[in-house]
């Protein structure tokens, strides 16, 4: 083996299945009508286990991954963004939102054919864009719409208060009532409870998979992880996804046990921050030419997962199954579910305060052995980018070399590839790294 290759590597076997799950998801949504199914749209963060109680004939599309999918195709993204801006919407709005709305207005589906119109819209709001996203769709397409609110933000004197959980739990019952009325069906409580178990399982499993990337060499690289984490944002209460993550966990553990690296030349580990610019994922492959592996980020680890934060360390949240909890009734399950989403989903904590994100970021840097950080100052998402400068400052203060590049996760017009590469090269020099391969 050449000197530059320090570890063995092999392709991830679960990759094909992950792609298949995703492809099926988008195809089933498009083909729902011909298969006699109902279409539902809402945010990826939605308390979706509730909808599982209304039948197996409901297929969904979540807005954020769909917006990202469009962002991966700059030409189609531009068409969608211009359609949205022509309607008078500001360019500094969430890029995912502009892509989704634009797709609706130009009546094109990212996977071909017309835009598949949802039959109902049910979502959870956790940012200002989400507050209006599906409302606008409802108005445009005259579709029934209901939204519930999250108890956002880790505000110190209210964090532990029960009313935060009750606020969300009570809304779950309101949502069920609305769904019953809108769909003309009774909620099957057993199905909801099962979906809650599956969601807790899926989200905790993703956390466990992320934990394994603390190993050296890293079994996964972040570009690969983007195709894996997204499954919980597609449908986190799906047993298919929870089962897949069981398989993935086993495979990643095997890679750790056998020192199988994602990047065989690994000699430097970095962490990223924020969504990546989806049309420029080759950034990560470029860094690999220097022997750099991006081991993860607050975004990748926290968006579709469940964590506890104990003594400065991120620890996968314990599922009800792991805690030996058997829900006696729907009320108990809903309360657990509300608490799971309010207190064990870090991504919602940091959208309103700097300190939680600083804490998690420093924890990741330390426990995942990051030699540096590459921060995307992302104009496309206010929530994820909130306090990015404070987070950068905290990392610099902690002695972590940090590089910043500017861009937009799903609007290519705001991303300068040459400038970003130039900054990466300067950062590689700062880290004392030379290119290993061309």
């Amino acid at each position: 083996m050449s000197d530059i290759y320090r570890y063995k590597t092999e392709p991830l076997k679960a990759w094909t299945k992950a792609k298949e799950i995703r492809d099926n998801y988008y195809r089933e949504y498009a083909e729902a009508k011909q298969n006699g199914k109902l279409r539902w749209s809402g945010s990826g963060i939605t308390l979706c286990a509730l909808v599982k109680g209304f039948g197996d004939d409901i297929v969904r599309i979540t807005g954020e991954p769909y917006g990202a999918t469009i962002g991966y195709n700059p030409k189609f993204a531009l068409e969608c963004q211009e359609a949205t801006e022509t309607k008078g919407y500001a360019r500094d709005m969430c890029a995912y939102l502009r892509n989704y709305w634009g797709s609706m207005w130009v009546d094109k589906y990212a996977f071909g054919g017309p835009f598949p119109k949802p039959d109902f819209l049910y979502t959870s709001m956790f940012c200002c864009m989400q507050a209006k996203w599906y409302q606008r769709v409802a108005e445009e397409e005259n579709i029934p719409y209901h939204a519930s609110d999250f108890a956002m933000g880790k505000v110190a004197d209210t964090w532990d208060k029960d009313w935060r959980v009750e606020y969300v739990a009570n809304q779950c019952f309101d949502s069920i009532e609305w769904l019953e009325k809108t769909l003309g069906r009774k909620c099957d409580e057993e199905k909801v409870i099962k979906a809650i178990y599956d969601e807790c399982r899926a989200t905790a499993l993703w956390s466990k998979i992320c934990m394994l990337n603390q190993a050296k060499p890293a079994p996964l690289d972040e570009k690969t992880m983007y195709s894996l984490y997204v499954l919980t944002i597609l449908d986190k209460s799906s047993p298919v996804i929870a089962d897949f993550y069981e398989e993935l966990l086993a495979e990643v553990q095997y890679r750790v046990d056998n020192q199988i690296a994602a990047v065989p030349t690994e000699r430097c580990r970095v962490m990223h921050d924020s969504q990546p610019p989806w049309s420029f994922l080759k950034l990560f492959r470029y860094m690999e030419k220097f022997g750099v592996v991006s081991v993860g980020s607050y975004y990748t680890f926290c968006l579709g997962s469940a964590w506890d934060y104990i003594d400065g360390h991120m620890v996968p949240a314990k599922t009800p199954q792991e805690q030996g909890i058997q829900f006696k009734n729907m009320e108990e399950a809903i309360r657990f579910y509300a608490e799971w989403n309010v207190r064990r989903r870090p991504i919602v904590e940091s959208m309103h305060a700097a300190q939680p994100k600083i804490d998690y970021t420093l924890s990741i840097a330390r426990d995942w052995h990051a030699d540096g950080a590459i921060m995307h100052f992302n104009r496309g998402c206010e929530g994820i980018s909130l306090n990015c400068a404070e987070v950068r400052g905290a990392m610099v203060k902690a002695g972590i070399p940090v590089m910043v590049y500017e861009g937009n996760h799903a609007d290519d017009r705001e991303f300068d590839e040459n400038a970003a590469i130039s900054r990466v090269e300067a950062f590689m020099e700062r880290l004392g790294l030379k290119k290993l391969v061309d």
């Binding site: 400068a389 940090v402 130039s422 090269e425 300067a426």
Partner: protein
């Protein structure tokens, strides 16, 4: 050993020849459309000024915006590393380098070995770079040198509200029509650019000694304004526009 550093900037291409750590030649020419050709020409002029021949140059290192276009360079380095190295050679006590060129500005924190520890870049906004001053000098129908000189005579601070170079030009015209003295407008222009530069520098932290390099470092009006903004003394090495090329040659 003789090495050449070529800094291909947006406006000028600078070359420095170094022999056993001593500068023996330099040249600066306008950057043309063909960056590689410009770099070759700049190298030839520097070689001539050094009194050596081309084959005596053992290594060519390029830097600057057009560094990858120099096909004959043996390697290239980022402007960040080049600035850090170049300043360290000239003034080893410097810990913060502020470099302002025609279209880019950067702040680099360096350690006692001249290694870059942190950096902030502006490669997007012309209002924080030399082209802003040039555009305003044209609007005031004067030279950059004269603009800098007269700004030192200003006794009144006039705010420039426009965030963008494009709109700033309109604002300068408005100030002229309002009969604001030219020296006050000149000062406002320098304050606008140094406000942006100092904000950028603060993101990496300003630790003495602070050096200002790049073409805009020769602007005495900007230098004074920047000193006032950051509140510390600033040193400007001789021929500050060559620091990047020097740093490349020393890699």
């Amino acid at each position: 050993m003789i090495t050449a550093g070529i800094d291909v900037g947006t406006k000028n291409t600078k070359t420095v020849i170094v022999k056993d750590n001593e500068i023996i030649g330099r040249a600066c020419i306008l950057t043309g459309f063909d960056l590689n050709e410009t770099a070759e020409k700049a190298l030839q002029e520097a070689i001539a000024s050094a009194g050596i021949t081309r084959d005596q140059v053992e290594e060519v290192v390029s830097t600057g915006t057009g560094r990858k276009s120099v096909t004959f360079a043996d390697r290239n380095v980022s402007e960040v590393s080049a600035a850090a190295k170049g300043v360290h050679y000239l003034i080893p006590s410097v810990r913060t380098v502020i470099e302002v060129g025609a279209e880019e500005g950067r702040a680099v924190k360096v350690d006692s070995d001249g290694k870059a520890l942190d950096n902030a870049l502006n490669e997007k906004c012309a209002a924080g770079a030399g082209s802003f001053v040039e555009a305003m000098a044209r609007a005031l129908e004067t030279t950059v040198e004269n603009l800098a000189s007269i700004s030192l005579n200003s006794v009144e601070s006039v705010p420039m509200n426009a965030q963008c170079v494009i709109f700033a030009e309109s604002e300068v015209v408005s100030l002229i029509h309002q009969k604001v003295p030219k020296q006050d407008i000149a000062r406002a222009i320098h304050d606008a650019i140094s406000g942006r530069i100092s904000s950028m520098a603060r993101t990496v932290g300003i630790d003495a000694d602070v050096a200002l390099v790049g073409g805009v470092a020769k602007n005495i009006g900007f230098l004074k304004s920047l000193k006032d903004h950051i509140g510390v003394e600033i040193v400007v090495p001789e021929q500050p526009e060559y620091v990047g090329a020097l740093g490349a040659a020393l890699q």
